[in-house]
Every structure is written in structure tokens, then in C-alpha cells.
Symmetry: C2
Subunit: 751 residues, 2 copies
Amino acid sequence: MTTVGQSVPRIDGIDKVTGRAAYVGDLEVPGMVHGKVLRSPLPHAKVISIDATRAERLSGVIAVLTRDKLHGIDPYFGSVIRDRPIVAMDKVRYQGEPVAAVAALDLATAQEALELIQVDYEELPLVSDMEQALIPGSPALHETNLCAQHDYAWGDVEEGFAQSDRVFEDTFTFPMVYHYALEPHASIGQYTSQGITVWSTAQHPFMVRDDLARMFGFSLNQVRIIVPYLGGGFGSKSYTKLEPLAVALSKVAERPVRVALSVEEAFKTVRRHSARCTVKTGVKRDGTFVARQCWVYLDTGAYADNGPLVAGRAGERIAGPYRWPSIKVESYAIYTNTTPAGSFRSIGAPQAAWASESQIDIIAAELGIDPLELRLKNLVARGEEVRKGQRPLEGDPAEGLRLAAQAVGWDSPEPAADPTDAVSPLEASVSTGKGLGCNLSGVGSSPTSTALVRLHVDGSVTVLAGTTELGQGSKSVLAQVASEELGIPLERIAVVSSDTSIVPYDRSTGSSRSTTLMGLAVQDGAREVKEQLLELAVRHFESPPEELVLEQGRVLRQGEGVTFGELIEEEFGSVAGELLGRGYVTPRRHGGRLAQSPVFWEVGIAAAQVEVDEETGAIRVRHYVSVADVGKAINPQQCEGQDEGAAMQGLGHTLFEEMLYEDGQLLNPNLIDYHVPTFAELPDKLETILIENGDGPGPFGAKGLGEGGIVAAAPAVANAIFRATGVRIKDLPLTPERVWRALQRAKGQDR
Amino acid sequence: MTTVGQSVPRIDGIDKVTGRAAYVGDLEVPGMVHGKVLRSPLPHAKVISIDATRAERLSGVIAVLTRDKLHGIDPYFGSVIRDRPIVAMDKVRYQGEPVAAVAALDLATAQEALELIQVDYEELPLVSDMEQALIPGSPALHETNLCAQHDYAWGDVEEGFAQSDRVFEDTFTFPMVYHYALEPHASIGQYTSQGITVWSTAQHPFMVRDDLARMFGFSLNQVRIIVPYLGGGFGSKSYTKLEPLAVALSKVAERPVRVALSVEEAFKTVRRHSARCTVKTGVKRDGTFVARQCWVYLDTGAYADNGPLVAGRAGERIAGPYRWPSIKVESYAIYTNTTPAGSFRSIGAPQAAWASESQIDIIAAELGIDPLELRLKNLVARGEEVRKGQRPLEGDPAEGLRLAAQAVGWDSPEPAADPTDAVSPLEASVSTGKGLGCNLSGVGSSPTSTALVRLHVDGSVTVLAGTTELGQGSKSVLAQVASEELGIPLERIAVVSSDTSIVPYDRSTGSSRSTTLMGLAVQDGAREVKEQLLELAVRHFESPPEELVLEQGRVLRQGEGVTFGELIEEEFGSVAGELLGRGYVTPRRHGGRLAQSPVFWEVGIAAAQVEVDEETGAIRVRHYVSVADVGKAINPQQCEGQDEGAAMQGLGHTLFEEMLYEDGQLLNPNLIDYHVPTFAELPDKLETILIENGDGPGPFGAKGLGEGGIVAAAPAVANAIFRATGVRIKDLPLTPERVWRALQRAKGQDR
């Protein structure tokens, strides 16, 4: 292969490093005015009255949107349950919830107007956390505080536990975290009686289109969602977020309106689910897994967003990549008076893996079995049915786990903590250890993507693909697929994305799906172009297709060649025209290969060597290895970049990140108080190992990545801390304070 | 048929009447600055030196473009001959030619900077008109003043003249006129090292793309031309005009730059060719045409633009819709120091028809034959080969001519000028007469258009078609074609046009081609969607296709139905996805029907009844009838609107319009001094008659219109004046002064 497998430079790279790349915040739409959002100061209250009269009278104010201005609009949206209003209706359910919005000629006026809006609230009792939410008789945010529940089971776990030599039961907690994409949410809404145009930070523009069409009463072809470059997503921009508010505000303002959130407002838009997971596992003395039962509680905040799906996935993923003769899992999404929780890179998996993989090491230690060996003994194998009725596993997690362990020197002993070696007295307190983590996630969401490939008369190509370029490098990968399939150099391929009125349907950008599914669609489109070239060449050479070969932008017959462009010229009668190739990915196409879910299994494998300073509780990651099974790396450098980013984001929630609430008020919605990893906190050695067995369902045997890297970080680090210190910590993040307290507690118990 | 044939409201109507429709002048591109053009005050001069230093130093100026800043750019462009530079190189060749351009933070600064640019010229002798240009030894604008020459002939005209009973030779002149689209040219150029984006007032965006790719060294897929709504074209925005300057200025400014011309500057960008046509015609005593020889001289101004093509077409069209046993035509495009002349509604035809059709009436009067009868006797008939080797005539001009004559009451005598009837003494001087005009133009340019039809899961449709909506109503017509073909209501169809990076190839918007050729492409795209629906329905019903019927958005089998949307849902496995249908129009598709040129023959037929005030020379058009043979009117009201507009524009050059030059300086580039028809000058009765015989090559038997209506206006009016007064005028426009002088001259001769 020529292009596929090469680390070619990103095709959006120059735009970005020169600062030319335009984001929603850079755009100006003719007649556009500026919007600001009034947010609830209270976490739970009835909205008695809203008086916007004074704000409306302020010079420079165009319009104020409140619940009273929603005539003809269905105000509710939500990807699973439509429980979230554009602006507060009868109640507010979290601090920061939109209550009203102002459109004004400039932002300062809009801000000033916010302060003139009178809202009378009647405060309601706060439901601050899941424990409180589930107490019978607690105040209910919606009809009930139980947003969603999922169960599955096979075998008989009671019998399994009875047959087990040992049964372990542990409870783990995972913090509320925020995605912290560098670009907060922004939308320009343009409503007219004939339709809607929205420029927005949307990962799933076609789903936003569907929602807006329904809410505002339009056909799909009357709603246009344009997504320029996106400054990161990680799930925070999946489904519909700010768009209905921007459009409704535009409707009352009768002007296009831009609403661009601050970081603080973005924190109050969506976050990851915090979790409490209890895992009960029965094992034989030799380490054979017999039965598992899990209770997964996820705090979905004030509105469902993608919570019901996250609950299902967390439950599914807590089984881990292991063979269970019997299993029983129940998972719950619970409403509380906090920022709604939705999708975040590998939904539900980091929470599930944190619990599952931490407990594997607890079991290993108790049984005196090497954690690597315990895993290898129980791992599902290639071709095995991972979950009843789902697609058999196409990869081999054991290979990845062995590679990760090998890379951190699993079998080498830790250096002894030698005080004489220490540079300073404090260093004497340092100990090191290695840990592993491993998970398996069924990903790809729905196999529904379409693409269009245009071959121009000069032999250059434009690919129309609805994948959102959010920094993951999709444009380059899709260009590489088209280049390889057509035999046309990469620099002759352009990719146009994410404008629902012109680019054909794509379900979404997320769930590690784009390389696999949109990649297939682009490949199919390129193939349909080739079929047409062959037909034209048959006419040109007056030869049967068997005698013709497509190669490097030309069709050859016995050494004689004609360029693709010349064939188009012949067909169109002048230097004009183009050929169009369509790619459809649907469940039953591709020989039915995509009919079974998931689209593919993404492994998340990590090994970490950490250093624990027992005096301060500080953790330093000396060596971190992530293994990604990509089937075939279309662009190895981008694969590594994606995986390294995921690993670092995983180290964020492992070591630092947590949204803190007090009395329903979010305390730390900014980069000062909310600590994301910086370059100073990079592991001393950060490594990604790519596995390429060509066993993915995507183009050239590829499968996606980008999510696996985040999943196993926390258990790998915590397991390493345990092996360094003998202390098991079951709550994240592993801040110095928490580690120090755990160490102190352990020392106390020792005494 | 449900939609086709209905005068449905324009789908762009609401946008336009609400003022929401965005034109290039309304757009803001991030980082955009503003450009102004320095234009030559001299009509012909060497450019000795340009010093932009002072301008560049002015605060707020970003960059100045001069000939010295064109490194890496091919500065020349032109649709036939690449003789026009972006900015003046060695010479300037007309007053108003761009010499330099400034990009500044605001327009006032840009304007101020223009005055700081020092240009030293060395004046050259002026070539003010064609006569002077052709004098041997005259100064030459280019290598020669002969821009292009076309000849054709069949039969032996010398023998024809010898066999004729009478031979007539007359010379006619046609003025320089300007298109006067309400929106002058405007372009936003955005040049980066990776490609070009241009928002522009372009009728042929794909041709502009091709030019810019060549000039700036990019692939076709790196050049994006976006055309928002266009405020009229009429040919003034065909091919490449302002775009290279905007892009080159952006390149030096390293910022997007908007250059929006004033009306005066647009007058100095393009115009219609003035002409001098000599027609020599031999006839039998009974009126049978025997031979014709013509000499057509067209003033193409300082640069070729589309002049060579216009010369060819004028020559072709001067034959008229008549049967000629022998003919010999030579036509010339001549350079002069005036605004370059290019395409204008029905290129070459009004000039040719003015001469040809005026002479027909001269012959009729001399032979004592009714002008209608003389025409009918010699008209080509349906199925006849109009021009040797070209497509046989699919229509019947005789039918149209009879209808036009009948509509103005051809056979009714004129009212006697009865002084006792007069309201004022002046009215006593009024006389009336009726005149006819008829022409035939081979139109459609190249049969090369492609389209894409997207059927969404809710059953609504988006059509991607590269036709520029310039006010002619193409969006509505293309939506009607898709609606009819798919059996989906019109309000469920959206049309996206004119963005070369996303919409498939279309050659151009002009030559009355879009309804026919893009209409066919859209119809074909809709058919490919239907084929796929049928495949899905075969699976759904498990029935052979013969048992299935597509009807009203559903597929039916024995009364049982499934909607299009449900079929898409089944295929994509959820409420998702879409079907894509491609339409290709190329010469050899459609059973080879488009292989022969022209695409179709457009007749231009007019009848006028005019009133001549012999005291003042003022002309009043009492009744004006235009006949358009449209094959099938997709939208009758739009057809009528197009044809009425063309007729009025024809009355403009007939009665009022003329660009006046003195010493190479254009005297009247504005609405005060350049008189276009106003509502006050509408004919008392203005009528369009549509002929619908379903004989066009377009969808549902349609053929285009929009050009025919302008062609016969001038001869119809002049022939009516002759029949009212006995005075023959051979020069346009027929201003009161010119008519009065002719009447006076005739009276003098009578005495």
C-alpha cells in the first residue's frame, strides 16, 4: 500500500498552526447579534415568575427568550429521554441551568440585560447525591429520581457463588469529571419561517438536525447544521446541547444569534457520570472465574442526556474481557441536582473498569497469583462470543496484555527503596510498583454512514463525508482511504465534512467509529468511481474489462494508458464534468458483516509503573504503556496521538480531576481549581503500542481507536500503587491527600 | 402531472421579499479586509512605473497589489483568449482598466490609499472604434486589432445573387449596451497556501474554479467557488471577471479581501458588443429567398472576453430562421480602447436579428408582399436541418409567428390619424403601425451537467445542483422536476446550488440551458433514487418489482403501502440514513440525443404595435407580444416572467440604451445618464404567449427560454415604425431625436 499505513501529515495541520482554521467563534453571519444566557443560581427551585420587561427595554437589546416565548416550539429535548427544556419551564434542577437568554447588539449589553431580568424562585430541597436521591420520600427531580435501569444476566450467579472457593465484594467510586475540550460550546442559530441554519460545535450534526426539525416543526431538508473546525469534543459535544437555545433565541430575535459559552458555562452543560460500583466475584482457588454480580450506580445529574445509554454500557463493560460462566449486572442512572451527565470518551467504561480491574488485582493478591497470569487465565479469546448473542471477538486481548506487561518490564523486580541512593532525605520514602488494566468495549454505535466521492476532470478528488473533524484527524484518514483505493496521491484528495445540507448522512462522530464506518463508506464511494472509470475505459479501448487495469490515476491496457481525467473529458465532451461515487454503510451491507453488534470490540489495555512518595502521597508515573488494537493503522502517528491523548485524559481522572459541589453549587469550574494534566505531569515515559492484525471490519482491516486508551488508566495506576505500597485505594482521584491518608490509615492498621 | 406545469410560488421568494437573502456584499468572512481598485484614467497608454510605497505606508493599509506582486501567478485570463491581465502589466487598454488594488481595514482607507499610488503613463494613440481599428497602420491594442474571425458558407452566393430577381444590401448598427444587473460584481477572495475560496457573483462558478486553479497553481479540488444569491446576471457575470483580482489581492494581503464594484466600475468590467452588420440578400420576385451574404463587425473592446464566441454566434444567427439555398457569412470581433465586451443574453443574436429582420421588412415593402407572408414563405419547418450538420429543428417557428401576428391584430387596419379624435393638438401627429421580428438561436452551450438527489429518512429531499440562482427561478424549476419525478410534494424539496466544493459539476448558467440540462440531471438523479427504493421495496414485500408501484412518497403492492422513509429506516436499521441519486448529462447519454449540437433551437418571436409622435419622434409601444416556444412550461408564471424581462431588456436597447464614449472616456456609467426602461415605459399591453408542444429535449419535453424574448424586439419596433411612417431607421437606439431626425429627413426627401 502507498498511503495507508503512512504517518502522513494532517491535512488540517497548516490551517491550524497558522491560526487560519475557523471555529464557530470566528464566524460572522450577516445581521448576527449576540446572545447571553441567564442561569439559575439555585440548584433546585420552582420558577414562580419571570419578568423580562426591564431587560427588553434596555437599548441595544433585540429580544429576551423565556419560557413564555416558546409558542410553536416543543421545548424539550434529550437523546434518550426528552426531559431537558431549552430554558427552564416550571422548575430549575441544577445550579447553572438556563432560565432565560438575551439577544443584543453586543455582548456587554446582553450581559447588562441579564441582570435586569427578575426571576422569582421558590427553593426546593436539594438532592445533592445518589444516596440522597434514592432514599424513599426524597424530593424528586422528575417523576422519580430513577432515570434509567438496565439489567442483564446469564447463568445462575447464586449457584456460581456457591461453587466458588472464594467470593470477593468491593465497592469503588469514580468522580464527576468534565471533558475540558479547549473550545467551549458555541452555536450560531438562524431561524426563519422557511427553516433553520445552525453553525455549531456538534459532534453529531445529523442528530442535531433531527432534533431541531422535530422541535421547531421542519422537514429534515429545511434544517442545516454546519460544523466548522471543532476544538475537541470527547463526547461533550455529542447529541444536542446549546443548539435549541440559539435557534429559539434567533426565532424571537428574528436575527441570527451567536451564543458562545464560557468555560464555566460549559461545565454547567455536560459532564461525565460519577459512579459507585459494587462488584461481587466468585473464583476458584486456582484463579478460575466462576461468577460475577455487579451493582452500578451512575449520577446522571439533573437531566437524562445520554445517561440511560451510559448506564447500559457501564453495566455491559463491568464484565471486563473475561469469561464468566454466570453473571448478573444491574445498573442505574440516578437524577441529582447537578450538571447533567452525558457521553464522555468510552461511555461508562472508565467507571466500570476502575471497579472491575481493581478487584481483579485484589483477588490476585489474595490468591497469591500474579495479576497478569490471573487475567490471562480468564481472558476471552479471539473468535469467542464475548457477550451472549453479540459479535464474536475479532481481536486477541491476551496478546495486548502480554505486550503491555513486557513493555513495563513486568517480570523485573522493583528497585529496592535504598536510602543511601536518595538524593534528598525525602526520596528515601519513595517506592515503586507496576500495575495492569484491561477492558473491552463494544463500540461503533450504529453502522450507518454514507459518503460521496467526486473525481474531477483534472484527476483530483473531493470526498464528502459527514464526520466531524474535532482534532482526531478524521480528514487525513478519510483522505488516505480514498487515495489508496483510487490510486491517486494524497495531496490530490480534499475532504469536505459536516454540513448536513450538502454532505450525505452520517450517524455521529464518536464511539471510535469514523475510521471504520465512514472509512468504509469512503472506500465504497471510491469503488463506485472506479467501476465507472472502468466502463469508460471499456469504451475508450474497445476492450473487455478483464484486459484493463486501474493504476496510479490511469487505466492501462497492455502498457497503453489513459488518465482518469482523459476518460472524464471523453465522456463530457470537453475539459468538464466529474464522476460521483456513493458509499453506503448500513447494517445489512458488506455481506451482512455489520448486521451483528457491536461494530467491533475495542480493547483498552494499560500498564503503568508508578512511584509513590509515602511522605506526601504524591504519585509520579514513571512509565505508562497503552496498547491499542487498531487492526490496521491507516495513519500510525495519528493513532499514537489519539491513544496518548486518551491515556493522558485517563491519568487526569485517575490523579487530579473532580468536579466539587457544595450545597448544590459547583465550586471549581475553571482551570485554576479544576486540575487537568499538564505537560509537567506527563509520565517520564509514555508509550503506545499498536497491534495490527488486519482483523477489523473497516477499510484495509482497520478498526477505530481513541476510546480504549482512557479506560484502563485508573486501575493500572491504583494496582501499581498497591504493588508499591500494599495499600488499596477504591476512590478516585488519587490525589496526594487521598493517597497519603490511605497510607497513614494502613500504617495505623499495621501498628 | 402534479407540480410540473403549475405556477407554484418561487422557493426563494420569501427570502428575497423579506430581505433575508444574502448576497456577496452581505457576507463577512473571518479576518476579512476591504479592497478598492485603482483604475486607469487613460484609454490607451504604456505603464512606465507604479510606485505604491506611500499607499503601503498609510495606516490601515494591509497590502497593495500591482503587476510587481504577481510572482507565481499566471496573470492572464479570458474564456477564449487569455489576453486580460489581473492588473495592468505593460499597457492599459481602456479607461477604467484595473491598474492596482488596495486591501485595507476599511473602505475609506482603501480609497485614500488609491490616491497615494503613483502611476506614470505614456499615452498611446486612441483606437476609439472599429473603423479606426481596421485602418491599416492604426495602433494595435494587442498584436493585431482583429480579435477573432469566423466564416461559414454553403451553396454559391455569387450564383445565387445572379439567379435572384432582386438583391438588397443594407447596413445596420447596434449600440454598446450594459447589462445593468442590479447587483454589480463583487468577490471575496481567500487565498492560502493550501487553496482558494471565493464567494462571488459568478454565473459559471465551475469555470471560474478552472481558471483560478490554473492561474494560481492549484488542483480543482483546492479551489472553492461559492455563489450566494445573485442580483441578476444577463451574461455580465459569466466566465471569470473580478475573481482573480480578489484572490491575488488576498494573496498579497494574506487575509480574505472583499472587492465590491460600484455601478460605474461594473460598466467598466463588461458590456455587450456594439455591431455593424451588412446584409446582402437575393430574392425571387415572389419572395423566395435565394442567397444571403453578411459581414458582421463586433466591437469587443479592449480584451477578447467572450468576443470570439459572440462573433461566431452573431454570424450564425444572422441567417435567421430561414431556408437559404446559399449563404456566406463572415464575422469579426475587433479590439478597441473601450470596456471589454462579452456575453449578454442571447449572445450575438439581437445584433444579428436587428439587421436580418429589418431587411426582411425592407424586402417585403419593395416586393409588395406582406411581411408575415414573406416570412412564412421562407421559414424553416419542424424537422428541417436548420444549419448544415446541426440538430434538425424540433419546433415550428411558423406557429409562433402566426400567434404573435394574430395577438397584435396583424390583419386589422391601423386607426386613421384622426385630428378630430385628438385630445390635444399634438396628438394629431400620432400614427401607428405593427411590426414583426423572428429569430432562431442554437442554445444550451455544452450538454454537461451533473446533479445529486438526496432522499432523507423523513421523506424530504435535498437536490444538489450547480445552477446559479440569479433571479431566473432555477431553484423552483429544479425542485418541481424532482417533485414530479419522485412523486413527493414540492414543499418537501430543497435545492442547494453553486458551491463547487460540494455540488457536482455544472458547466454554466446561461444560454437558456438550466431547465433543459440541469433539469435532466435532476430528473436522472431522482430516477436513480427511485431505482434504489424499488430494490428496497422488493426486499420489504418479497415481491418482484413488476408488482410494485411508486406513488406519492410510497411504494404500493396491491393496495398495501410502505413510505419511502420506512424503506430507508429498514435499510439503515434506525431513523437514519438517506438515499443518493446521481444525474449525469453528457453528450452521449440520453440515447445520444444530446450528441448533436445545439442542445435545442430557441425561437425569438415578437410583434409590436407602436405609436410614433411625428412632432417629437417619441415612440410609445401600445402592444407588445413575445412568443416563447418552451416545449413544456415547468412553471408557466416564471416562464412568462423571464420572457417579459427579456422583452423589456430588448426594448431597452431598442429605444433608450447606449454607452457613450468621447475621447475614450465613458460618459454615462450610471442610471441617470444611461436610460434603462422604467415601469413608465412598459408597453400599454405586454404579453407573452407560451408554445407547449412537448418537443424539447429537457425533462417532460421542456426546453429553456430567457434569451429568445430579447432578440426580436428591435426589428419588431423598427418595422412597426416603418409601417406607421414609411421611414426606415437602421441605427439603434430609436431615441426621439433619432426618430425625429429620420422623419424630418424623409419629409425633406418627399419635398
